[in-house]
Symmetry: D2
Subunit: 413 residues, 4 copies
Amino acid sequence: MAAVGEQAGQQQVKKVVLAYSGGLDTSVILKWLQETYGCEVVTFTADLGQGEELEPARKKAELLGIKPQNIFIRDVREEFVRDFVFPMFRANALYEGVYLLGTSIARPLISKHLVEIAAEVGADAVAHGATGKGNDQVRFELSAYALNPHIKVIAPWRLWDLTSRTRLLAYAEERQIPIAKDKYGEAPYSTDANLLHISYEGKALEDPWVEPDEAMYTRSVSPAEAPDAPTYVEIEFERGDAVGIDGVRLSPAEVLTRLNELGGQNGVGRLDLVENRFVGMKSRGIYETPGGTVLLAAHRAIESITLDRGAAHLKDEVMPRYAELIYNGFWYSPEREAIQALVDKTQERVNGTVRLKLWKGNVITAGRKSPNSLYRLDYVTFEEDSVYDQRDAQGFIKLNALRLRLGAMARGK
Amino acid sequence: MAAVGEQAGQQQVKKVVLAYSGGLDTSVILKWLQETYGCEVVTFTADLGQGEELEPARKKAELLGIKPQNIFIRDVREEFVRDFVFPMFRANALYEGVYLLGTSIARPLISKHLVEIAAEVGADAVAHGATGKGNDQVRFELSAYALNPHIKVIAPWRLWDLTSRTRLLAYAEERQIPIAKDKYGEAPYSTDANLLHISYEGKALEDPWVEPDEAMYTRSVSPAEAPDAPTYVEIEFERGDAVGIDGVRLSPAEVLTRLNELGGQNGVGRLDLVENRFVGMKSRGIYETPGGTVLLAAHRAIESITLDRGAAHLKDEVMPRYAELIYNGFWYSPEREAIQALVDKTQERVNGTVRLKLWKGNVITAGRKSPNSLYRLDYVTFEEDSVYDQRDAQGFIKLNALRLRLGAMARGK
Amino acid sequence: MAAVGEQAGQQQVKKVVLAYSGGLDTSVILKWLQETYGCEVVTFTADLGQGEELEPARKKAELLGIKPQNIFIRDVREEFVRDFVFPMFRANALYEGVYLLGTSIARPLISKHLVEIAAEVGADAVAHGATGKGNDQVRFELSAYALNPHIKVIAPWRLWDLTSRTRLLAYAEERQIPIAKDKYGEAPYSTDANLLHISYEGKALEDPWVEPDEAMYTRSVSPAEAPDAPTYVEIEFERGDAVGIDGVRLSPAEVLTRLNELGGQNGVGRLDLVENRFVGMKSRGIYETPGGTVLLAAHRAIESITLDRGAAHLKDEVMPRYAELIYNGFWYSPEREAIQALVDKTQERVNGTVRLKLWKGNVITAGRKSPNSLYRLDYVTFEEDSVYDQRDAQGFIKLNALRLRLGAMARGK
Amino acid sequence: MAAVGEQAGQQQVKKVVLAYSGGLDTSVILKWLQETYGCEVVTFTADLGQGEELEPARKKAELLGIKPQNIFIRDVREEFVRDFVFPMFRANALYEGVYLLGTSIARPLISKHLVEIAAEVGADAVAHGATGKGNDQVRFELSAYALNPHIKVIAPWRLWDLTSRTRLLAYAEERQIPIAKDKYGEAPYSTDANLLHISYEGKALEDPWVEPDEAMYTRSVSPAEAPDAPTYVEIEFERGDAVGIDGVRLSPAEVLTRLNELGGQNGVGRLDLVENRFVGMKSRGIYETPGGTVLLAAHRAIESITLDRGAAHLKDEVMPRYAELIYNGFWYSPEREAIQALVDKTQERVNGTVRLKLWKGNVITAGRKSPNSLYRLDYVTFEEDSVYDQRDAQGFIKLNALRLRLGAMARGK
């Protein structure tokens, strides 16, 4: 009978590039791909700033029979911050008013490398370890398809029958895949990490009425444990991007790394959220985004003195859509690129320095200055002045009121 | 010589209703109106929760020769929160990403009463004490014109020549208007207060690179002085409005009063901002909005489990426009009312309870629950389940990707 | 073999309500449902104004073995226009700038009846005859699921193997399903019709460089064949809905019927379009919407004198989203309902009369008047006047220009 | 007495550049500027395609005492279409759903030249002949201030007392300003013309219930007088701009000129509108935009096959705002430029050819083709195919429906 929809092993796959972390799950996937498709597997392991060594992943890939020339390990931290995180922060992107999109923004970068490596090694497929209920599968696959419309995508979690922890472990044991001791028990939550953030979701967090365990956090000290003395930090911006901290010019990844340290030390950037997934259900996530939280505050502050009102309000109006596009996986879409062009156009003179005070979870704007400042003391002072004729306000109000008055008259007032 | 535009004393005014605080400035205005227009002056003093006694205003009005029947003093706190603050919070309104619109939202209410009193007493004009450089003149006047298109509006600050402190004081002394001792010196900043917030702007705050003096704040303790133990608070919502705190049902003004106390005690709700005025320049303002800051977090949290994604994202997209309308003074406009209808429609099932942790400036979501919750553990769990077929995700992704793939193919990929 | 995704006959179905036209395709579906699921089939045939007799559908259903109590035939024309077409026209909805959504708007109505009948007769499933490549399957199913989240939906075209004309005809012949003579050949295009429009797509129209055959059109004479004398028509509106024509009060369906006659006689309402389907590809459609084309022009014209500018521009900004929602099948969604609340709020005073001239394909506004008109000759005249002080314009312009001037100065001008 | 607001002769003006048509009104202004300000007057007369000789303007300026080196006459037609009209058409801009912005788009160009000439000749002011009730004063002045924040703007119609026809004529006669015979009577309407359109408004058109006189139109034959045979025209596009007609490559102004001829001959492009002015009232305007009407239809048609859905819908959503900005005079604003960047980004592959049929007022799309077409017959056909798996639609629908189903369940369904 003709197969229906997607089905394990059904596709002909010659060579597949797998997004490989070196962990248990993607190691099982590696083996399963070999067995199910009888194909050559190429691994791609990226340093996105998740804070893990990559060499163990290489070792493990070799152990699982991957040829050295099929093992790709790349440090993509600068690319990640420069080409993905920074453009997104130019838009002040927040999903559902609060979420800094730390997971969402990393996925297109990974797919970009998967597709590029596939072209290099002549692979016809890519594979990822995201489940069938989440957003990440969508983000991986939309990006991959947008970059290579002919690529095959294998999503083992939607295909195989290793759908319980027990079966997965059994499969791994049978194939002599090394299993770290702590992997035998059920993890209380799953995490995703990169230079922008770490997320937690699942099991122990599933009741949105219950606070998370303080012990869970890894990127920030508890605000209650943070120093009593505030940390002041000065962030320099050029064309909307942070280019230096406290007088020292830094690369994009260095900026974010430093802001993570400063924010994390001061208990900044925790978020507990029930969010709407693109696949249709609500889920609860906890995020730590110390550097990103600082950066957003700083960017809004530098914009506050350098950005024209019309441009600023326009940006604010398109931002929710932009954030939604990134959350939903449409980074490589014509509409995200068009909004990016709009956003980037507004950043041409977003230059200057912002001073922030970090203290026990708080990010407090303590100053902003710019060679391109649009803030003009002479226009805003209460003094008599020549630059602004207060009587102009009357005409301004009268004409703004005219349609409201005509409307009221038409209603018989 | 033919008068051009607005000009002091030029209009014929029979009777004018003045928004009267009892302070020096509006007392001078009171006198000036009498002298300039030779007209009867009616005073309106409102308790908006600004934290001042109103009886002294009555006394002072009497002293300045206002007839008792021309003195209107009203406690409008419940009306303010119920009909203005709460509808605005249903929209999660933030101006320029951060400002809770505490001043903006009070102005239409005052104008509403001015116009109503004018109708009651047969006055043909209203007057206010806002200057010619600010937003408040616009808000007062647009509201007044929208409610009574035939009303005359007198804005003495745009008309008279008392444009320096010295001249104002001289004028007051000549007319024996009582001057509080602290009014002789120049105030370091001007403030506006009501149940939602207090604002500070001007002189001492004019350099946006300089932090405000800690001594300035009046509504919140410094986060550094706040208690070491967190305060947990549970806020109950019905149709998007807060109706109870910690199990006690409260009126709108009681809710906000209580949240102000709780927030203020924990150093919550301070904001230092450079904002874009409707009249065209940037200005720097400092705000304390303790209760409002708590309320916004709570409202977003209750929406996070009760609001459909489509409705939530739509609201987020129209919010900046809605906030801009309120900031600019268009509360009584067809477009604000139309967006309100949209917003209110989404709040029909925004019921439930949010638990927040207030601590040293932080507002942390600690739990949310609702009889109308859309969060479904069975749909979000990693377990195998019958309700969600993971394989549906493939079709979902494939069709979402189709236009991106066709686009890539057309570009020769 | 383990079934993957949706599969014919796989679901347990007890009783299914089929959207039944009486034509060959849905008759085959009827039989196929009986055979495949062994279930009771209930038919629903609606008079949406498609211009076909319904009694033959009843006869045919009986012939195919449907019990009389399982045959539902309803005239839903008034409901269609009143509850679906008119609300949509209040928004001036156009998909992709030009398409009046004639097919899209009928689908949710059909699903509403399918789901209601399912509840009445105790059916657990509904079925429709839309294909797997089009928008209609989405519209039918999203509506059905939104109205009954537990309903099963059967879409035979996505399931069966009758995927060629030959097989379909063979299946019909084997089951002695009557086949109209003209059904043996391949139709040059498929159509969908209701009181709002008729659409054509497929085969003969597939090359977007080629004009359609003039003989195809059925709802409008060719502009070239239309009368030389224009038809003037006056349409009366109340709260944004057309309620009368040429002085005669009419029901919603009567209004649209009459406008179809008048528009059709004058060659009005043809559209040749390449549009973007929700499922991801572009398709070419030809539409005739004579009455709708007239109605849109009339509605815009009555709004032009009765709607406030702020409300009008707001509506225009949300319209594309609203049209997209309807096109994509989200009629029964919280966000469509929220936008509807916004739109309806603006229509409260959209009353009056519009005079149009219909002539050889043209719809020309020839006049508009309203008891609620906001057009005021005294304000617009070039004469000197007391109502509008031209000098107010200076202040209006100066303050609107201020930020632009400050921006230019900051750029060194 | 201190002057209030703007006042004639009050400003010190050294040298002023006047937008000079050579007509009676701007000739009177010329004289009035000399007399009122005792300043040197420089004239700028532009060929925008309004269809008038420019040499008589030179003669008249000389006659009125303007030095030859102070007379600037420029043919700006190519600049107008290339830098203003075409960018606007990339956005498919329509104000209030129907108006092609023919007057609005010309004003910033004129101001640009006024300001440039002012810089060349060392003038400190510019002047225009727009009245105090219209939009044009706003457009002229916002553009001038944005380009030179220090420029003075003189708007005689808001300042002088020549506010009746009689006084204006008397003033002209006294100064021996030549008056064309037809200028003695009152014109039945005022017009504005350029290569994009001609407008009519005022007196004879003031009752929106009355049709305009057929004799008024000058750019198009009456549809009733248009040829019986249709005109087919093929328009070639590159990156969203029309670059050729019927196989002949043309410059921007040539394209628009040719489309005006073709459209005008076929009675295309008339519009009768009540619109909302920026200054607050509604006004009635009649427009002829033959070439623009054709161009809009062609541009939408070429986009229909070359533009991605996401980009297309995004453009449609921002279009009303973009059109409003241009209508209101904010061409030279950061937000218009930001939206332009968005729009231009989408046009990168909007290449190809559109075939239109022009006939008695109708513009009918007769074909579109493109080397970058996204229309794919193989994806849209009803046939069985390998490229599109119809069963993907099930998952697509199921996940799109999920939130709607969960919502229905939460409502107890």
